[in-house]
């Protein structure tokens, strides 16, 4: 789904591309490049587990694009029935929701981006932070190498540059062989509060994309699985007009 794409674009290191090979910045940059795709259409399902109990599956259609240095995303709920037709539009730091139950569009406060998205363990920021990428907010430092589920990985610490970053620190594990992100540990107030694991990488139009992302919260008895079923990079389904509040209002 597009949210995974955006989530990973969080890790983008836009300012790190000119450095020499295998510097920490370059490792992050290489890992991010796979996700820097212009226009993506996706369908994914999101399941939140409270304890071991699965909550109703949320199926979402995602549209994303990057244009003039800005990131745009539109997510439309397909399931469950209660949320069907509810849609969320994000343009950089701005967030709007169209409620299917009332047909009204409401603008959310920008602070809401740090909050849980759809009751999941992903925040709105995790789902689709602005297109600035991590390079703007974090400084990468190579912390060695470690195996994640049998795969040799670079272990990098990404320290927040300032208080604007959603997390104080990230630990990312990037596969040495093909620069895939396999795990991200999120730190808040010096503690690892959640961990995301990315798997089921598949090559689509030259892009090695994770079709499964699992976020495990260490401060709540919950985890969230996002499984992408359709991923179309450079998709013709993406139209500029989708990313307007006018279109949002018209969604049925």
């Amino acid at each position: 789904m597009k949210k995974i794409f955006l989530l990973l674009s969080l890790l983008a290191a836009a300012g790190l591309s000119c450095l020499s090979a295998l510097t920490p910045a370059e490792i992050v940059d290489k890992a991010d490049k796979a996700f820097k795709v212009g226009r993506v259409y996706s369908i994914s399902s999101l399941t939140v587990y409270r304890g071991n109990e699965a909550q109703p599956v949320q199926v979402m259609e995602g549209y994303t694009m990057e244009k003039n240095g800005k990131s745009y995303s539109l997510t439309i709920y397909k399931e469950p029935q209660r949320m069907k037709g509810t849609a969320m539009l994000m343009i950089e730091n701005d967030l709007w929701v169209r409620f299917a139950s009332t047909g009204r569009v409401r603008k959310l406060s920008s602070s809401a981006k740090k909050n849980s998205a759809g009751g999941s363990d992903f925040s709105y920021a995790d789902m689709g932070e602005s297109g600035q990428g991590l390079a703007e907010k974090y400084t990468p430092v190579l912390k060695g190498e470690e195996k994640i589920e049998g795969t040799a990985c670079y272990k990098l610490e990404l320290d927040a540059k300032d208080s604007d970053a959603p997390y104080g620190k990230l630990l990312v594990y990037i596969a040495k062989d093909d620069y895939r992100y396999l795990q991200v540990d999120y730190y808040e107030d010096n503690a690892n509060t959640k961990t995301m694991k990315l798997s089921d990488y598949r090559m689509v139009h030259g892009i090695n994309y994770p079709f499964k992302a699992v976020m495990v919260s260490h401060v709540k008895d919950s985890r969230t699985e996002i499984v992408t079923t359709v991923f179309e990079p450079d998709s013709s389904k993406i139209k500029d007009r989708y990313f307007t509040t006018g279109y949002l209002k018209s969604i049925r």
Binding site: R82, L95, F99, R104, S109, A112, D189, A191, K220
Partner: protein
């Protein structure tokens, strides 16, 4: 080897005198026992984990301050559970009725004698008078906007504006204000219902209008669960868990009262909270100890009858055994004045240890008799042959225990003192009592003209069975040593896997109602009793901590006095906003009976839209209670399907159809305006809110009895005993303050200190024991050989624990010093006998000592194993670990140690003779 030592002469003198003057000897012991009984009378039993926390540690000191100085920290919480009633409204009604009745019932005897106050409903008096002053300035401005027009249309329009601006689809904000928002939603639903009645021409009263506004402004006064089927009734007792005399009777009385009332209404009820858990710990520990001590005593005495075929064996060994226990409790009374959960357990361990001395003495005595010795000679020979062995055994064991008394933790050092004196008391009681008791028995038998009981005559404590083992050892020492080394080596591979239990709750009895209710309180009421707390020294510090801690992702809620009082700066900042509000209210509150149904209809439907959207957000955010309330109000189920006619439909239908009784609705509007403006005015005091204005139940929760310290409770998002989460929670709280305390930190300190103390005192004990053995045997090689089975026993014990995931905890960790102290005994006895019998006599040594060693080990294991049936899991695990430890030590002592001795002395020709004999 020993020659005529002091102990030999002492034992011989006492033996001769006490056999001859058995009456005087018994009287002498009785005199000592009476003195010790006086000491025992001064012992108090403190059977809670709380009582063994290391009192000198900063966070334990703070924890004790909280327990002693913040009365609500000791609250007994009654959980009224109406979930057995299917109809939700009926369950809620009954739960509330039970709470109301308890409120009255507990004002009377026999309950009132244990109670300072009770709280069944939230005391809203503070908010009724100072509600606005307790709001942030931005919220006072919100209030101003909402209540700038008190007509129905104006009020609903402003409420709608507020919903659409404040929450802004922010699910976390909703969660933060959930209770407040819920009462507002329910109050609004009730208001719309009242409006429907009025609009359809039905008369409504001012009282009904007042009730609706009360609910809207101040919420539900009862402390109810997510689905309103459970309720809490808080009892502030006039005792804490440190008042051991009041703890059980007090909590039991309250529990009986709560359960009886609940049963009358057909619902269930139970108690929880720190004080109740303390009562349960005490009762289950005492129950466990009673079961264990009875089991141990009966089994040991039965074993004595069976082993010695002597019906008087229970008396001959049991009287000194019990006497030794009395003396130990007496010493405890004189020196440390209390028995804690660990030292009380040790009293049962002592049954298994003390009886060993009787077994050694009686075995030697029966063997002498069997070989034809006269009574006096048999007793004296038994004393001389076994006496030194048991004295050295007892001294090594006592030395190991006394080393513990230098520990930092009171729990461990008290164990060291009690255990050390316990061993010495049992040794003294056995040596002082067994000869005169045997003499008395002999005297009685002679008087009756009997030589011995027929069964006793058939006594077969002989060497045949075990000497076979001895012969096997002599023939195959290398094979046995190799096999044993391989076994030890194999187990040692798993030794590093032994873990430490971090969760005290896993050490409690299984199925305790108070513990189960703690979990339910966490799920249903969002309360987590074992969170961290902070003692703050000022209101500004409390407010600062409150606001910073709230932001941590591992923190669900922060409870403190902060929301109930204002600082001078806050009061200064808020006063102008409140003054403006009052002025505006005087205009807005003007009574008007004009209602425009069309405009009102727009706002009613707009409110419905807001309810629907908020309901969607709540559903997505898994806020089931709020999603339920909002969905229900809009006539929908949790799946968002329209299932019933809602109050919006009813009111909307009336307004839309043009059937509105505008006159009647206008009258209601006037009543609502009157009620609302009066209550809002009452809430608008500009007086700064000080601690003295706070209702007692809230004050007792967060302000110390002397008024100088303020408690901040940090409610975690998960059970803080969960190890992974505990680290996150502690780390995040530590990023704000280093002043946190709580049971999880105190138990961590206890675990760390018990572990450090355990290692330190174990090293000390090993050194002291080694020196005693060295001094006793006066041979370095023999002293080293004696330590080998002990080291092997530790490796095997840790290996077994690692394989079966048996954890050490701060109670069963006593296995380490006990194993050092007791595990060495069997090897010491074998050494003594081997030196006595000489080279080439290992088969005879095993034959002579094997039975006694087996019996003593068996009784020790019985003593320990008697903890296994205990309901208290800490006792159960202690029983398992110690039984295992003793069984392993026995096997190593009778297999590995003799094999090593035979190899060293008889194959390698090493000398184990004392230095002076070289």
């Amino acid at each position: 080897m020993a020659g005529r030592r002091f102990t030999d002469r002492l034992l011989e003198s006492w033996g001769k005198w006490s056999i001859k003057h058995w009456g005087k000897a018994l009287l002498m012991v009785l005199g000592i026992t009476l003195v010790m009984l006086y000491g025992a009378a001064h012992v108090r039993t403190e059977m809670t984990y709380y009582s063994i926390l290391p009192a000198k540690e900063k966070n334990v000191k703070d924890l004790k301050v909280i327990t002693e100085n913040f009365p609500m920290a000791s609250a007994v919480i009654a959980v009224i559970d109406g979930r057995n009633i299917e109809d939700q409204a009926e369950a809620e009604r009954k739960v509330k009725a039970v709470i109301d009745e308890l409120q009255e019932k507990f004002k009377k005897e026999p309950y009132s004698r244990y109670i300072t106050r009770t709280a069944g409903r939230t005391d809203t008096s503070l908010f009724r008078e100072h509600g606005l002053m307790l709001l942030k300035s931005e919220d006072i401005h919100r209030f101003s906007k909402i209540y700038s027009d008190l007509s129905f249309t104006g009020l609903l329009r402003n409420i709608n504006n507020d919903f659409e601006s404040v929450y802004s689809g922010n699910g976390d904000k909703l969660s933060e204000d959930e209770e407040l928002a819920l009462s507002q939603f329910s109050g609004l639903e009730d208001l719309l219902r009242l409006m429907s009645q009025a609009a359809s021409g039905k008369k409504v009263t001012q009282q009904q209008a007042d009730a609706v506004i009360d609910k809207y402004l101040f919420g539900n006064p009862y402390l109810l669960s997510n689905d309103n089927r459970m309720g809490l009734f808080i009892i502030e007792p006039n005792f804490t868990m440190n008042n051991i005399d009041l703890l059980a009777p007090g909590v039991n009385t309250l529990e009986k009262g709560v359960k009886e009332t609940a049963a009358e209404y057909g619902v269930k009820a139970g108690l929880t909270g720190l004080t109740t858990v303390g009562r349960d710990e005490m009762e289950t520990s005492e129950k466990g100890l009673a079961v264990s001590s009875t089991t141990a005593l009966v089994l040991i005495l039965l074993l004595m009858i069976f082993a010695f075929r002597m019906f008087s064996a229970p008396l001959v060994s049991g009287i000194p055994l019990i006497t030794g226990i009395i003396w130990t409790i007496g010493w405890t009374g004189f020196i440390i004045h209390r028995l804690n959960i660990v030292t009380a357990m040790y009293m049962i361990v002592l049954l298994g240890l003390g009886i060993d001395y009787a077994i050694h003495l009686l075995t030697a005595y029966t063997q002498e008799k069997e070989e034809g010795a006269a009574f006096n000679q048999a007793v004296l020979h038994a004393l001389s042959k076994s006496g030194n062995g048991i004295i050295i055994g007892a001294l090594t064991t006592a030395a190991a225990f006394f080393m513990l008394s230098f520990s930092k933790t009171e729990m461990v050092s008290e164990l060291g003192i009690v255990a050390g004196f316990g061993i010495l008391s049992e040794l003294a009681a056995m040596i002082m009592l067994i000869p005169p008791l045997l003499s008395y028995r002999h005297h009685r038998l002679e008087k009756k003209g009997k030589v011995d009981h027929p069964l006793f005559a058939k006594v077969k404590i002989n060497a045949h069975a075990v000497s076979g083992l001895g012969s096997f050892l002599v023939k195959n020492p290398l094979s046995i040593a190799l096999v044993m080394t391989l076994v030890i080596g194999g187990f040692s591979l798993f030794a590093t896997k032994v873990a430490i239990e971090q969760n005290i709750m896993n050490m409690e009895a299984k199925g305790l109602e108070s513990i189960k209710l703690q979990d339910e309180m966490s799920d249903e009421f969002g309360m987590a009793p074992d969170g961290l707390s902070i003692l703050s020294s000022s209101i500004p510090e409390t407010k600062d901590l409150d606001s910073r801690l709230k932001k941590l992702s591992s923190v669900k809620r922060v409870e403190s006095i902060a929301p109930y009082v204002t600082t001078e700066e806050e009061a200064k900042e808020r006063t102008p906003a409140i003054v403006d509000f009052i002025q505006q209210l005087s205009i807005a509150g003007m009574n008007s009976s004009r209602v425009n149904p069309e405009l009102l209809l727009d706002e009613v439907y707009r409110l419905e839209d807001n309810f629907l959207e908020l309901s969607d957000l709540a559903w997505l955010g898994n806020m089931k209670k709020m999603a339920g309330v909002l969905s229900n109000a809009t006539g929908r189920n949790l799946e968002g399907e329209k299932t019933t006619v809602s109050v919006f439909d009813t009111l909307g239908g009336i307004l839309e159809a043009g059937r509105t009784d505008t006159g009647n609705l206008g009258e209601l509007q006037k009543m609502i305006q009157k009620s609302l403006s009066e209550k809002l005015k009452e809430m608008s005091s500009i007086e700064p809110v000080t601690v003295s204005m706070v209702p007692p139940a809230i004050r007792d929760s967060y302000v110390s009895t002397d008024g100088n310290t303020f408690l901040v409770n940090i409610v975690p998002t998960k059970n803080p005993w969960n190890e992974e989460f505990r680290d996150i929670y502690k780390t995040q709280v530590a990023s704000v303050t280093d002043k946190a305390t709580g049971m999880i930190l105190a138990s961590d300190v206890l675990n760390t200190m018990a572990r450090e103390d355990g290692v330190r005192s174990s090293i000390g004990a090993v050194i002291v024991i080694f020196l005693i053995i060295l001094l006793d045997f006066k041979n370095l090689k023999l002293a080293l050989f004696t330590m080998i089975p002990l080291a092997g026993s530790f490796l095997v014990l840790f290996g077994v624990m690692g394989i079966f995931s048996i954890k050490f905890d701060f109670v069963n960790i006593i296995a380490v010093p006990l194993l050092i102290g007791i595990g060495i005994d069997d090897a010491v006895h074998i050494n003594h006998r081997y030196l006595l019998e000489g080279k080439g006599s290992m088969d005879r040594v095993i034959g002579k000592t094997g039975t006694a060693l087996f019996l003593t080990s068996l009784t020790t294991i019985i003593g320990f194993a008697s903890f296994i049936p205990s309901p208290m899991r800490a006792m159960k695990s202690t029983g398992i670990v110690l039984s295992l430890a003793m069984a392993i030590a026995f096997i190593n002592s009778v297999l590995l140690h003799p094999a090593v001795l035979v190899l060293a002395v008889e194959k390698l020709k090493l000398s184990i003779n004392p230095w002076r004999k070289k």
